[in-house]
């Protein structure tokens, strides 16, 4: 009964998170209820809720909410169907050491600004990257096939000419996926038991949970079925002992026992109250210490006047050569024929992300925004933000521009790296600023009149001024929001008008 309830909720939540990571549904709260995103977003409500759930039911988070945990359960379940389980899952002793070590490494990476370290360790983001880099291209392919159908089904799916996979992100996701699948196939929840820092942190709370799995030694005949079924390899049937750091309250042992010797019971029964009350206090103190560690981390203030950039002032033309001496061209975008489309000095961040330090420290690269962007301009970064910002979404205007009536990325972002914003704010907030290069403009190279950038600017930030025989654009820096419509529609190659990011 308990197991059925647990499995039903788990499957529903897992399907919801997987489908929203595939872009089929937009269920934002599935990401928001994950622990690391909630911590990064300082979402107190969710944190309290998770703490209460763990304090009452034990570590059900790992077996019900976390999609990575459910994935391992599914793989383990499949493996037991294929190769009937004879052996119990074993757990090496070093597994107790690795998790705190990894937690320390993650926190150190967060504090030091080595963004990809915590991003690599967070189970939600790992699962997100596995889906968006592995399954999402497959789904796009299926959608492509469906879009070719005649009739009503064909109109629901559109052929989209883009790819969101990046080499680095796919390699990392493939390595993680291979590791998780293989270990889950052979040893069950290995990732949770020996690597995941989230589950380890929660296990300290679950040690004093109200309800816990307990044994009735008088009924037990030590058959060892519970031990063989335990997918977290936490149960010792000979000593009738459960390792609280690994148990995820999956109730598999309860359903495995045909003697009725295992129960899910209230922990603090009267005779044991005095003895266990201290343990309760102690572990709570440990929890408070852990959460204080998280809260004390430096949060970077987002207020920063992004316009005050030395080389951007209103009404001047920008020649790229003038900038060469001061800045390095970090971002280079090529099209599929290998032609250079645009070179940026500074990468463009998604809207409403504040400054670069804040953005990188909050984002865990789950790539949910990448999937939900309707014009597919968000991509995993490679070298744009430097080595510490690997995989963090960056903006690339080759497939469209940031539409003024859209806030999908902020809507889905679970960590608050892309802050929620209203559509009226989108008319003012800047992602970057348009920079004109008269050398590659078609008015100079092809000697034709062109008004592509002016016509498509949604904020009327571009005006035309006469220069020689033709009119060329002039950008009003105050009005420009860096949406990239001008860059996308610019017919020149490399683009004569492009967006520069506002990183400081």
């Amino acid at each position: 009964m308990l197991r059925t309830v647990r499995r039903t909720i788990a499957i529903v939540l897992w399907l919801l998170s997987t489908l929203s990571l595939l872009g089929i549904f937009r269920v934002a709260w599935v990401g928001r209820i994950q622990l690391v995103p909630a911590l990064l977003a300082i979402n107190v409500g969710i944190l309290v809720l998770l703490a209460i759930v763990t304090l009452v039911f034990g570590r059900v988070y790992c077996s019900v909410i976390c999609p990575m945990g459910i994935l391992q359960d599914l793989v383990g379940w499949l493996s037991r169907r294929v190769r009937p389980a004879a052996n119990r899952y074993s757990h090496p002793l070093w597994g107790h050491l690795t998790r705190p070590l990894i937690l320390i490494i993650g926190i150190w990476g967060f504090v030091e600004g080595i963004h990809w370290l915590p991003a690599l360790l967070d189970p939600w983001s790992e699962y997100g990257r596995m889906v968006t880099q592995g399954l999402y291209p497959l789904w796009l392919w299926v959608r492509d096939l469906l879009s070719g159908l005649n009739g009503p089904l064909g109109t629901w799916f559109e052929h989209e000419d883009f790819h969101t996979a990046s080499f680095q992100a796919s390699v990392i996701a493939a390595v993680v996926a291979l590791f998780v699948f293989l270990t889950a196939w052979i040893w069950g929840r290995t990732f949770c038991n020996s690597l995941c820092p989230v589950g380890w942190t929660l296990s300290w709370l679950s040690r004093c949970s109200l309800f816990t799995i307990s044994f009735d030694a008088s009924r037990c005949d030590y058959c060892g079925r519970c031990e063989a079924r335990c997918k977290a390899s936490c149960l010792d049937a000979r000593k009738l002992h459960i390792d609280p750091s690994r148990c995820v309250s999956c109730f598999d042992c309860i359903s495995a026992c045909d003697k009725g010797a295992i129960h899910y019971r209230f922990r603090y029964t009267r005779p044991a109250l005095s003895g266990k009350g201290q343990a309760h206090d102690e572990s709570r103190r440990q929890f408070l210490a852990t959460s204080a560690l998280f809260l004390q981390l430096p949060f970077v203030s987002r207020a920063q006047d992004i316009i005050e950039e030395g080389w951007i002032d209103e009404g001047t033309y920008y020649r790229t050569e003038q900038l060469d001496a001061e800045h390095e061209k970090r971002v280079k975008v090529y099209n599929r024929k290998g032609q250079l489309v645009v070179e940026r000095y500074k990468p463009v961040m998604p809207p409403s992300t504040g400054n670069i330090a804040r953005y990188l420290s909050r984002c865990t690269s789950c790539h949910l925004c990448i999937v939900h962007c309707p014009t597919h301009i968000l991509r995993p970064s490679t070298t744009e933000y430097g080595p510490e910002g690997l995989l963090v979404p960056t903006v690339n205007f080759t497939t469209g521009f940031c539409r003024p009536e859209c806030n999908a990325c902020a809507d889905v972002c679970p960590t608050g790296a892309i802050q929620t914003f209203s559509l009226s704010r989108k008319q003012r907030d800047k992602m970057g600023v348009a920079v004109f290069n008269s050398l590659t403009c078609v008015t100079a190279t092809d000697d034709v009149d062109c008004d592509a950038c002016v016509r498509h600017c949604p904020h009327q930030a571009i005006t035309m001024v006469v220069r020689g025989n033709h009119k060329v654009p002039k950008v009003s820096v105050n009005r420009c929001t860096g949406c990239g419509a001008c860059e996308f529609y610019c017919p020149a190659l490399p683009k004569a008008i492009h967006i520069e990011g506002l990183l400081s």
Binding site: T155, D161, F162, V442, V448, A452, Y489, P491
Partner: protein
Amino acid sequence: MVLHDEKMNRREAIERLLGGSVATLLIAGGLTACRQRKSSDALQANPVTQAALHIPCIACGDCMPCPYGVDIVGCFDVWNDAADNNELPDPKKAASPHYAALTRSFLADYHNRIPLLARAGHCINCHRCEPLCPQHIQIPVFLRQMEWVEQNAENRT
């Protein structure tokens, strides 16, 4: 006259008279307006309304290749298919219940058939194609019109 014959497609009748030029659009539009005044229901019932927007392109391909990569013939083909079936999402009638369904089918058809960088929005109005057209179609004008419909449809979805 011929135009009162219910069996005959009004566009065909006008095209037969005028040899299929841009005047088709103007005259049929005027006729539609006359009819509109008679009865408001007639606008939806009348298949001529959108068929009049048919672009008289014969797909000869003389205008191609566009120096800026627009697939002119393909775009006009998509437009004509939608117009002939009375399935163009008219932004002026965005409030009507059919508009959402029309936008979806129109955009799906358009996006499935025309690659991203060959769509009407990438016309830069250089007018190099216009003298090449044997039908004397004002190609940039029609492409602009198509982009307007597309942009409005995308804003709604």
